[in-house]
Symmetry: C2
Subunit: 332 residues, 2 copies
């Protein structure tokens, strides 16, 4: 006995009013008499009526849904981001439509295209795409924001000061007396990774410290571990490591310990992001308020959707150095 779900016409019939009145009652228009509204509400209740979202979107060209396009869903970084976004969205009556864009720009285009008509706005995180590539991919007519990426000229971007964050982490290593520093960078094409490396290098240069080691990781645990093992196998000497992100740092940490080195006594170590794991492992790092960034981005996106407001000034979230065990100790 699975009956067709009730439509607005069924409700109108039962409440003995027109569909227009039902629609008005439902959407809180003011020109509806109280007793009419009550009859409608009663009928809605009786029939367990729920408006059909597709029909509503079609006629009002509004979906009350926001699209979120992410490079991948691995790890706590993304879950935090989504959490912040979901909070801001649901507080405003919006739902989140998720789509992952596996690095390929081709597929990135597809991921964005399938959202057309399903969402009122788009939040995109694409650190591996250039500014131009993103601009080309984003539909002109749809409100959009960018999150943690190369800031756009056309759309609001929610970014962090990667260079300054990396520089301050590096200065901290120098401040606790480390001179032979090393950096494990992120993936080649990644914007944030490049910026962080720049920040590291400029801090080194500014301090007049010796030329550092630099290895190319992949933002993953294994990458970090591999680089460190390589260095140790080659007999490189270093007493401080600044990793492009926390996962890389964690891989490095394990490789260092596996090699019998003490952290921080022999090698101090600092990461970037402050994922929850960092706190548990006592990893010093640069705190990126990921959930806040996600929330701010969605908040702004909703504002754009509801009031057409534009503007494209990048919003830079402040970073904070978080010092824990991996840099709290004196050199041997």
């Amino acid at each position: 006995m699975k009956s067709r779900p009730a439509t607005i016409r069924d409700v109108a019939r039962r409440a003995k009013v027109s569909v227009a009145s039902v629609s008005r009652a439902l959407n809180g228009h003011k020109n509806v008499r109280d007793d009419t509204r009550d009859r409608v509400l009663q009928a809605i209740d009786d029939l367990h009526y729920v408006p059909n979202a597709a029909a509503r979107s079609l006629s009002s060209s509004q979906t009350r849904t926001l699209g979120v396009v992410l490079p991948d869903l691995h790890g706590e970084f993304f879950s935090e981001l989504i959490r912040g976004m979901d909070k801001a969205a649901s507080e405003r009556g919006y739902l989140l439509l998720l789509s992952t864009m596996h690095a390929d720009p081709q597929l990135a285009g597809q991921a964005i295209a399938v959202m057309r008509g399903r969402v009122d706005g788009l939040a995109v995180m694409a650190p591996q795409l250039s500014r131009d590539a993103i601009d080309r991919l984003m539909p002109e007519e749809m409100p959009g924001v960018q999150v943690i990426c190369q800031p756009s000229k056309k759309r609001p971007s929610f970014i962090i000061d990667n260079r300054e964050g990396a520089a301050s982490a590096t200065r901290h290593l120098l401040a606790i007396g480390r001179r032979r520093l090393a950096h494990i960078a992120g993936p080649e094409g990644n914007f944030d990774a490049r910026e962080r490396r720049q920040g590291f290098l400029s801090a080194i240069a500014a301090a007049g410290a010796p030329a550092p080691l630099v290895g190319a990781g992949d933002f993953g645990e294994d990458g970090g571990a591999r680089i460190v093992r390589d260095w140790l196998a080659r007999g490189e000497r270093f007493d401080g490591v600044m990793a492009a992100n926390d996962m890389t740092a964690i891989g490095a940490l394990e490789a260092l310990r596996a090699h019998g080195l003490r952290v921080p006594e022999d090698v101090a170590l600092i990461g970037f992001d402050d994922i929850p794991l960092a706190r548990h492992l006592g990893l010093s790092t640069v705190r990126v308020p990921v959930a806040d960034i996600g929330a701010a981005a969605v908040e702004r996106l909703v504002a754009m959707v509801t009031s057409q407001e534009a503007g494209a000034t990048p919003e830079v979230q402040p970073l904070e150095l978080v010092l824990r065990a991996t840099t709290q100790g004196r050199p041997h």
Copy 2:
């Protein structure tokens, strides 16, 4: 010059065919001549046409979207689940619509209602709701699966054998010589938490071990820490702790160490879930293949959506004991 996006009629006009032919060409029907299809494709390309998803959903009553309703998004448990679901969904051309349902059953109903008409099927995780409550909330006419919860009689459920998992963790503590065991349970209303406590108690009973300590946690780190501190303050004696989940175990671990106790020498500790953090902290635990469960649930949901197939046999994912540092050592 932001022009209205092209519609199927624009395409039809440009390709000099009817809208029906455009639709047929687009949806890969066979009765379309090659040159017609080519003209249509050309026009689509020229106009950058993308079909309007809302219109398509309305007329075909299909959205190619699946709804995911979760209790919360905190922690790695959920990000893993979403990751598994997203993988299975995107492989099949489906998008995921996210909604969090804050414990309140009232709100749970709303979270489900807003998805009506926006999704072809629903995957719900609601461990804090009874079987009946979920059945009442889920719309009859919509395909649905349940994930990690009290199994339903009406819908496929993807569950784990909490009792056996908890029992085997408990047997392991007994096997390494611990006798005075303690259990930090999860939140009162949570199905999995109750089952795990049952498993713990029955393993104790079966082994004829002394009556254990049992405290009520909340699946969170702080809860675990609080219970342990209470026990220690009251002078309780125990040499093995089985926590309802990993986060609880991690809180317990920190409280134990803060009190100067060695793990596992003084107190052995085992958790449940095997979140990534557990590996990094050397926490023994029971591995729950969360991502696999999410993927399996979505896979099944897609099958239900596309072929009306029903069936409600719960699918039980196997668990696996993972032994790490917190239980690897001999008692003092």
